[in-house]
Symmetry: D2
Amino acid sequence: MEPWRTTIARADATHLSIRGYDIAYLMRDTTFADLVFLLHRARLPTADERRLLDAILVAVADHGAGAPSCAAARLVASGNRESVSAAIAAGVLAIGNEHGGAGSACIEMIAAGVERARRQGLSIADAARQAVEAEAAAGRRVPGLGHRVHTEDPRVEVLFGMAQAAGLPGDGVAFVRGLQEGLRARGKALPINVDGALAAVLYELGFPPAAAKFVFIIGRVAGLTAEVAEEYERERPMRIRIPVEYDGVPPRRID
Amino acid sequence: MEPWRTTIARADATHLSIRGYDIAYLMRDTTFADLVFLLHRARLPTADERRLLDAILVAVADHGAGAPSCAAARLVASGNRESVSAAIAAGVLAIGNEHGGAGSACIEMIAAGVERARRQGLSIADAARQAVEAEAAAGRRVPGLGHRVHTEDPRVEVLFGMAQAAGLPGDGVAFVRGLQEGLRARGKALPINVDGALAAVLYELGFPPAAAKFVFIIGRVAGLTAEVAEEYERERPMRIRIPVEYDGVPPRRID
Amino acid sequence: MEPWRTTIARADATHLSIRGYDIAYLMRDTTFADLVFLLHRARLPTADERRLLDAILVAVADHGAGAPSCAAARLVASGNRESVSAAIAAGVLAIGNEHGGAGSACIEMIAAGVERARRQGLSIADAARQAVEAEAAAGRRVPGLGHRVHTEDPRVEVLFGMAQAAGLPGDGVAFVRGLQEGLRARGKALPINVDGALAAVLYELGFPPAAAKFVFIIGRVAGLTAEVAEEYERERPMRIRIPVEYDGVPPRRID
Amino acid sequence: MEPWRTTIARADATHLSIRGYDIAYLMRDTTFADLVFLLHRARLPTADERRLLDAILVAVADHGAGAPSCAAARLVASGNRESVSAAIAAGVLAIGNEHGGAGSACIEMIAAGVERARRQGLSIADAARQAVEAEAAAGRRVPGLGHRVHTEDPRVEVLFGMAQAAGLPGDGVAFVRGLQEGLRARGKALPINVDGALAAVLYELGFPPAAAKFVFIIGRVAGLTAEVAEEYERERPMRIRIPVEYDGVPPRRID
């Protein structure tokens, strides 16, 4: 088999380096958020970049035992006590376009919209409104808005405030606010959610769309480990009983 | 269904808190390592505690594309391009007692050994030697020692140095060094590996055994996201070909 | 890399064989239960063996949307609509010693008990009673008995009847009935469950302990695919809301 | 929480039924292939339908230890010996559009093509050729053709022959042959693969597109259990070493 090629990590008998930096220096002089940035951007972040990435990782780490990822991890922990990896992996699997993954589609929409605004001399707000119309015409939901629990997502303004304080350009945030405005103009008042907020900020930080899912997963896994730990410590196996109602065909016999 | 009880996160229409702290404060004033500590210890860490946890998370984040967790994530990314969650979950699943999980068994051994030393008035080194003898008698491998790639694991002394500089008591580190000494006395010269090192330090920081696996998984997931990103960007689907040699029964016919 | 060795499947440019049998013959002349038997026992089953294995696979395929494996698959399907593999994998992950996996421990107990009966000239029933006492003394639950839903598991007597009709020796079944009797003698009236029933029959068919989990997983995956299909067709994304009650520390501030 | 609704399984204290059939009857009088059909089509199959579904499940069960699904399961089994569920789930996760999942896209293409042929009075072969042109124009690969190992996939003609003998209409098979012909006309000689073959037959049996992935997964899980069993029995933990070559940035220092 040909060797697999990689630009990420290099290990030999006595050394390990990540993106060219010796692990000893990374351990001594950087934080985990620095390393996440380094892994995905191939350079270390500035202090502002690190602070924003930390805020995003903190923001998404947990949202209660009933979030689909947390609930899936707990259900698996309820039936399978021999592998914490199994429970955490199940939590990761629940993260998709509908849960935790909308940030990727949102960065794509921001990138396309900001580019269109520049090319066509539109305001960011107008480009966002056009994007809302296009999604509505295609029968798709606008990513980054709406929440099952929050009427106002408490993480959004905090993150936008930090981004502004850090001097980010603001076009990603403006675009997502424009999406919200565009929906409101169509009679739908929805809060910006954390997916929309992190998409705006990751876009302004120069991350590609895929990064939104990756960053969400990294942050959420921390919460999943705590949910699994609590399930193991506090609950007995098989304690979860989902009420089910059968409404299929009545009893029948094999002919 | 009865509500699930939790002490971790609380969410309502306009608020989210983790272990009692409002998410806004956490996002503004803490780092991701702080949050990991908070999730598992129900309090925020000191600066030294945070620094050591950051060093551990950085240490385990990646170890090259061929580590079982990274390779499993890449194999899944090779066949399944529609879900990054699937690839990352597969990487998490490869983490077990043999890979990334030895730290949990090692903390258990340290805790039992240090306790035995105290109770019986033994030195830590003697307690460790006894533990090595007990494992040998039971035909078990001593956790936290040996590595497939490293003759000397470059992460170990860095972490031990940082722990000492932070003023940790040192009994966990002494015990793991004692395990190495005990094996050497039996003719086996093995390096302390990162599982052994993080076990020693997490033990001294007051973490329970399960935390070693949790912390390893949190750190490694960061690396897994980068491995999957590189696989998607750089390689075509289904590029991985494992050479296989069949050595089973010869061709036969159904009677 | 050295080639991986295998005795299972062999593939070249124009052929594929499993355990030495050409796939064309297997497709034309055997059933899926035959193949499952062949994969795990390296020979094709007799008609009776096939019939019993079919009955077991059918027995475990589904047990309602609220079984932990089914519920985990649905939760993941609820958040992640882009990968059916992710949802089914989550369902598999919920299968462990507490759910679907007790059959493996039960075969081990049967094998040890029947062997002890032979060696010591005990009746199977007495050996089973001793096993119950030993588990009770060790504070462990006896595997293969008890059910969250069934006061009498409707699959058990059907399978035992089929095993008897097929002329199986009956010592596995006798041992599991002995476990039930032993528990009853201690004041615990529990039904034999499907794990206990399939353990008894797989033991008599000559399967090793691990096979109980494998067979359960193969059968249950069929049900998981149907649960996921129904979730996708009938429900909207993110429809599952688990009620959660926070009972942790009250609101506090970062010092 | 509102009860979850389901039409699949119903369980109470003493009964279990699937799609209205009592589990006792199903265990006694049906096979696993019958049950798979019942789960997905809500009725029991005819003898011919059962035989074809058995042939498909047998065809896809295993393709050697190096297939991505099998290799992923083995890699996870190599690092995680405490959970067979984890290894099998990893194998399932490797199944996606690129591996084992092309059948779903292929059924969609067949259904659309056969419908177009009817509506426009085209021959099936012409409709298939148009589909090939459309895929080529869109820069997409035609699903169901080509194989990494086989120059001729030995499962295809067996399945097509069985379908013809069973008196299936033949339009799905004709369409897939037309795809092959259309590619050949463009200078690409590719074998029909098992995904294309099972798509043709499942389409003619009336299954929806999603069924191709579900059926592949059910069949392959049988093979995965055998691969994991062999890995556990025959190999030591952590035996798999993937050769890796680092070609990233050279060593550098933190500024």
